[in-house]
């Protein structure tokens, strides 16, 4: 089974938020909510400072706490690529998954169910990239199968230094940031 993931080059990312707008348009994300977002992290002490710009979203963790805590099984790993998805008509909106996510990637959709990034699974099934990846003007975002050693994402991870978010939380996230 494939394991879909993303590799995002923080050296190329300029934080233009094109990915955010593309996601909102593609997925009809309600106004005021965001499935993906831009974070700018400034680290260090002047003059030795460093800024990292990251496009963030659900990390589609292999050990997803949101899947484990869901009382109805609405949050689940899809068979296609191991993507973490929410079945809307099984979700009771208890918000346990929101509490369990260390990345704050989930929110309550105005219709009541819990919403989040789906890696644009409907596009991926058609052989396309997720909307955010396809619009990125700096081509800093890459999508593919992390279990395939010949995929673009696997090759980038072999070649470049990278990190994931909060690995100490033990969730095995599937989004990696090149540095």
């Amino acid at each position: 089974m494939a394991r879909f993931g993303m590799v995002i080059d923080t050296v190329k990312c300029v934080g233009c938020t094109d990915c955010v707008v593309a996601c909102e348009t593609e997925n009809n994300v309600p106004v005021g909510f965001a499935r993906d977002w831009i974070e700018q992290i400034a680290i260090g002490k002047f003059p030795d400072t460093h800024v990292e710009i990251r496009s963030e979203r659900c990390n589609h963790c292999s050990e997803a706490p949101c899947v484990n805590c869901c009382p109805t099984g609405a949050s689940h790993h899809s068979e296609f690529g191991g993507v973490v998805l929410v079945t809307h008509n099984e979700c009771i909106g208890c918000k346990a998954c929101i509490e369990s996510c260390p990345y704050g990637a989930r929110f309550v959709h105005p219709e009541g169910y819990i919403d989040k990034c789906t890696f644009c699974i409907h596009r991926v099934k058609e052989g396309k990239d997720p909307a955010c990846v396809s619009v990125c003007p700096t081509h800093c975002m890459h999508f593919g199968d992390l279990d395939d050693p010949n995929s673009e994402v696997s090759k980038l991870l072999q070649k470049r230094k990278h990190h994931s978010l909060l690995p100490e939380a033990g969730t095995s996230p599937n989004i990696f940031y090149l540095t």
């Binding site: 938020t17 955010v20 005021g32 909510f33 965001a34 977002w37 831009i38 974070e39 700018q40 992290i41 400034a42 680290i43 260090g44 002490k45 002047f46 400072t49 963030e56 706490p65 484990n68 805590c69 869901c70 009382p71 109805t72 099984g73 609405a74 008509n89 099984e90 979700c91 009771i92 909106g93 208890c94 918000k95 346990a96 929101i98 509490e99 369990s100 996510c101 260390p102 704050g104 989930r106 929110f107 309550v108 219709e111 009541g112 169910y113 819990i114 909060l166 100490e168 939380a169 033990g170």
Partner: protein, 310 residues
Amino acid sequence: MYEITTTRHNHLVDSTLHAWSWQIPTYLFLGGLVAGMMLISGYFLFKGRYKENNCSCYYLPLFSIVLLSLGMLFLFLDLEHKAYFWRLYTTFQITSPMSWGAWILILVYPALILNILMRVPKPLINKIPKLKNLSDEFLKHPFGIKITGIINMILGGMVGMYTGILLSSLGARPLWSSAVLWLLFLVSGLSGAAAFVHLIAKNVYERELLAKADNGFLVIELFVIAMLIIGLLTSSKSHMAAALILLSGPFASSFWVFVLGLGIVIPLIIQLLAVNHKIHHTPVAPIMVILGGLILRFVIVAAGQYSHWF
């Protein structure tokens, strides 16, 4: 310097998580109180105290059923997709404490009804006279009553533990990721229930007994809170920061004043004086204990949501 700027502004998530409002801590408090009542009532049934005419095991299950139903109503009110509530009972998710809790609560009702059957309230007997015969028949079987007591104690213990495990299983909140949270909520529930019996018991022996027991529960609760804080302070940076939220952060005043001071230490002193016959029993101390238990849940739920990994 470590500065984060984000474009995310999701309701209930940013700037700090506050997805669970008043409904969840109130539900956890009522669940804990019912758990304590089931343990006390079950113990009295097991020890044969039901032979006493004014034993609290006759009215505690009535209160329990009302309070538990109220708690479940609050839980329902918290749901964002209410029309799909029934989905909880179409599956059992072994890794989800909430799923365990939903099914345990279904088992609690028959256990409480069995306890109520020992002495059915008069208005109910007037409506269904056959219940009186059922009740009389039940009282002829001491072994059955003992078993009812044991079932009530087991299920009460499970409900009390579940209220804590529900939070501690959510590892993304460092304040909740403690192995003693279930113990804290269980002891706090027992303490609240003992205070409740102390407050309304007609039986003098039970009032004295529960006042003494409550003093023990309050001491254990102080000890468990100390273990919770020490456990967090000796863990990772995120856990240390979570402990400091309670000790010196935004929730410090409510934690020190309302949870520890007014909710545990002062009522403990009052009750110690009362059981040693230095002062008369007063309803003030048990009321403080019960309110302290409620505020404890509010503080732990709110401060837990405020805590995060970094």
